[in-house]
């Protein structure tokens, strides 16, 4: 196998190649769409299972709403239409017919829809139009609903996982009787996201609120978790929106409260997408390929038999099979790769590229010595240990790897989170090593947009922490209550 481009030489080429070579995804023949390959999908399934269980533990249920949304729905919420009307796949016809050449197909002009349908870019409109019929009284609230589905946003510049015309996601849409409950729900989901992304994906985060300018189209408050990639750019990993009564007002969703008074319903929405896969890849991987946190690795341990003769093969594979059974009994996800069509060296490189946390190799000498060789993907450390210690060593290493890659990512995150107090330094950093730049800002959209136009850095969030140290805006010099987080972003 030819080596990957290095991160230092071309981060973007490294990413694109890695995604394909590790078997995660590839570009589809349709512009901007991707094929998620089985190994990539297996990671997504693991994430889905973890998030879904957490949603259910917090009282949410799943449902499913239509893919196709009437065009008129999008103009009901003024902020929403601005944000989404630009980038929609529009269904205008419902039939094809054979062309006159008798071989190709053409759109049947007789089958034009009266009202065009939009392939959902997000489902607030169709869901709130349905909630109108579900909600009469406070007894019908809260509604704590989520759906796992696909959405389409017509992106001009696309990249696998990070920005694709179609992507997979979950979208939670909740309805509440009080403002306080809706606000608490949005924050609860932000914290749930933060916990899972940190604990399972080993990704360090900053959490905060979006500025007016970066807010979700139709939200009163957008909460976000943001991560820093190895190239110093930020990636928005998940968002939770407090919608106030906006969609309730747009779709006339009212209820009778406990005092018998009619009021509009309060809402939230929140989502994570296949973009998470991009963050996972760009945070932990190295020039040899993917590095996966053991907690979400589809294969935690791969076993490669080493042999020359058929007799050696049988003995080695037999020993590995019994080790495999032992490890599976401990809940470890193991794959024994006994393909005869590939050499061990090829397999080593393949699983390295796929980021399998631990590799076990066993040959005839090991059999004689009752030993086994283990290699760690993250540190490349290799050890030969007595066979008896295998289970313990694997268990210890899986834990150690999970901790180590989080700590490693956290060090980078911390080293690149910088206090910046003057605009020349700010510009130099943004154009150079990037990072999360903690700077004072005067709170105006005008300043935010000027900084963006001049540096391509945006305000990733106003942090949710207690560091309320006042200062002066790096751009306008006007007073500022606290630092905000700037970065160039994916």
């Amino acid at each position: 196998m030819t080596p990957l481009p290095t991160r230092a030489s071309n981060f973007s080429a490294w990413y694109n190649e890695l995604v394909v070579r590790a078997g995660l995804a590839e570009n589809a023949s349709v512009r901007g769409c991707m094929v998620i390959k089985p190994y990539g999908y297996a990671i997504w399934e693991k994430l889905q299972a973890i998030f879904d269980a957490a949603f259910k533990e917090t009282g949410h249920v799943n449902g499913y709403f239509p893919l196709l949304i009437p065009k008129s729905y999008f103009s009901k919420e003024a902020g929403h239409v601005e944000g989404f009307a630009k980038e929609c796949a529009v269904v205008t016809h419902y039939r094809l017919k054979m062309a006159e050449d008798g071989r190709s197909v053409v759109v049947d002009p007789a089958a034009k829809l009266e009202e065009e349908l939009i392939v959902r870019p997000t489902s607030e409109t169709v869901i709130w139009s349905t909630y109108k019929n579900w909600i009469q009284s406070y007894r019908d609230l809260p509604i704590l609903l989520n759906q796992w589905c696909n959405v389409v946003r017509w992106e001009m510049r696309t990249r696998l996982f990070l920005r694709t015309t179609e992507f997979l996601w979950q979208e939670g849409h909740t309805a509440h009787a009080t403002q306080a409950e809706a606000e608490a729900e949005a924050l609860q989901m932000l914290h749930l996201y933060e916990r899972i992304v940190t604990d399972y994906m080993a990704i360090p985060l900053i959490k905060g609120t979006k500025t007016l300018n970066e807010r979700f189209a139709g939200a009163e408050t957008t909460y976000t978790i943001e991560a820093l990639m190895q190239d110093g750019k930020a990636l928005q990993v998940g968002t939770a929106h407090y919608l106030g009564q906006r969609f309730a007002k747009a779709f006339e969703v009212t209820f009778t409260n406990q005092s018998g008074i009619r009021d509009y319903v309060w809402g939230t929405s929140w989502g994570i997408t296949t973009r998470l896969m991009g963050a996972l890849i760009m945070i932990h991987s190295d020039d040899d390929g993917l590095v996966l946190p053991p907690k979400i690795a589809p294969i935690q341990v791969v076993m490669v038999p080493i042999y020359k003769t058929e007799a050696e093969r049988a003995a080695v594979v037999a020993q590995l099979s019994s080790c495999k059974a032992l490890l599976i009994a401990q809940g470890v996800r193991v794959q024994l790769d006994d393909r005869a069509t590939r050499k061990p060296g090829y397999k080593f490189a393949e699983y390295e590229q796929k980021g399998v946390p631990i590799r076990i190799a066993l040959g005839p000498n090991d059999l004689q010595n009752k030993t086994v060789e283990l290699a760690r993907r993250d540190t490349k450390e290799k050890v030969t240990i007595p066979m008896d210690h295998l289970t313990q060593q694997v268990t210890d290493w899986l834990e150690a790897i999970q901790t180590h890659i989080y700590q490693r990512a956290l060090s980078v995150h911390q080293a690149r989170t910088l206090l910046v107090d003057d605009y020349p330094t700010f510009k130099k950093l943004v154009a150079g090593t990037g990072g999360f730049l903690m700077a004072h800002w005067d709170g105006t959209t005008e300043t935010e947009e000027k900084i963006k136009a001049e540096t391509k850095a945006t305000i990733r969030c106003i942090p949710l922490d207690d560091n309320e140290e006042p200062g002066y805006c790096i751009y306008s010099g006007k007073p500022s209550k606290r630092r905000v987080v700037f970065a160039q972003a994916y």
Copy 2:
């Protein structure tokens, strides 16, 4: 609550009302689309989990292919285009813009696609166009891939779950080095479907092959499992297609076999859909609502506290909570409904309509007597038993209910599977009580179409069994090798 329409008076109205009232699904504002409500989706999730585990046990992996397919792909396989071109949602534009009134949105005529995109009605075309790049040699085979997703087929007459413009499904698409392996795969999946639908959903089935006329557009052989609804109509529950080399030829997917010879790849595809929900409902339910097999019921046991005073309430709920913990420890899915806003009678009717297999009621007298009342949904049997026996009784009943509803459905299935030897009787039966009519057929599409035109009965399948008794076609009188299964179908 007003009662449901009865099955005898209006089966169709009974079905439609039941689906909505049991909280399974409802019509969306978009024509022909449905909203799958949380209780309905919870059943679908159970089914998904069972099927998905079985797919993985048989070596399949999941992936994801794009929703949008270039129009030209559909004309590459001649049979396929005939079957699917009629009923497609066509994306022609990728942008909306504000109308001149400044309030509504219109399609931006400048954003017209060069080639229209079709919202997938099924994914053979996009998947085989991708397999072309994945397959070079026999070493790359087999590919055993599945995806869970949504599809759109523009149906004119729609009914919740049974026939909707958008539905959810899984579609398996496998690629093989030999004809024998592909044929075995299609049959393996048919048997997997049969086993799960019978064992978990308690639905009796006939399995067989489709006639040329009813075959999947692009298949060499279509295998099907068919079930009989309470109104005597058939429902196709799942299909598996042996595709031969058709899609490989259409998309030029070749490989080098072990002898070094280049050949086309052999394929299969197979799927089950949210239509299964329709079968589940129409097979087991009664005039009081849904009846669910315990193995797939989201709630297997519901607990309703009976009380007058607040003190009674506290004591009864405390006792039920500890019973609940015991049952959950046994792996039983229990819900304790302690809503103060609803009376017990209301709750009884609600859970009856939702088909919860076992209802437990507990009041102050029970506390005193150390007893508890249980009611079975399927037989309406009620018993009061010592509290100590609760876990055993629940475990026994869950098993008994699963067996009983299967046996009950099987009796109906058997009683309505009839040998018919003359056309007048055939016509009378089809127009009357329906059922699976086992009749001789001369094997021609002409006869099949005439019978369909005259009676609306179609050949559901040529059974996969050993009853190869010869006879004479009920329509043409020509010789026939074996009986086939006729029925009117959903």
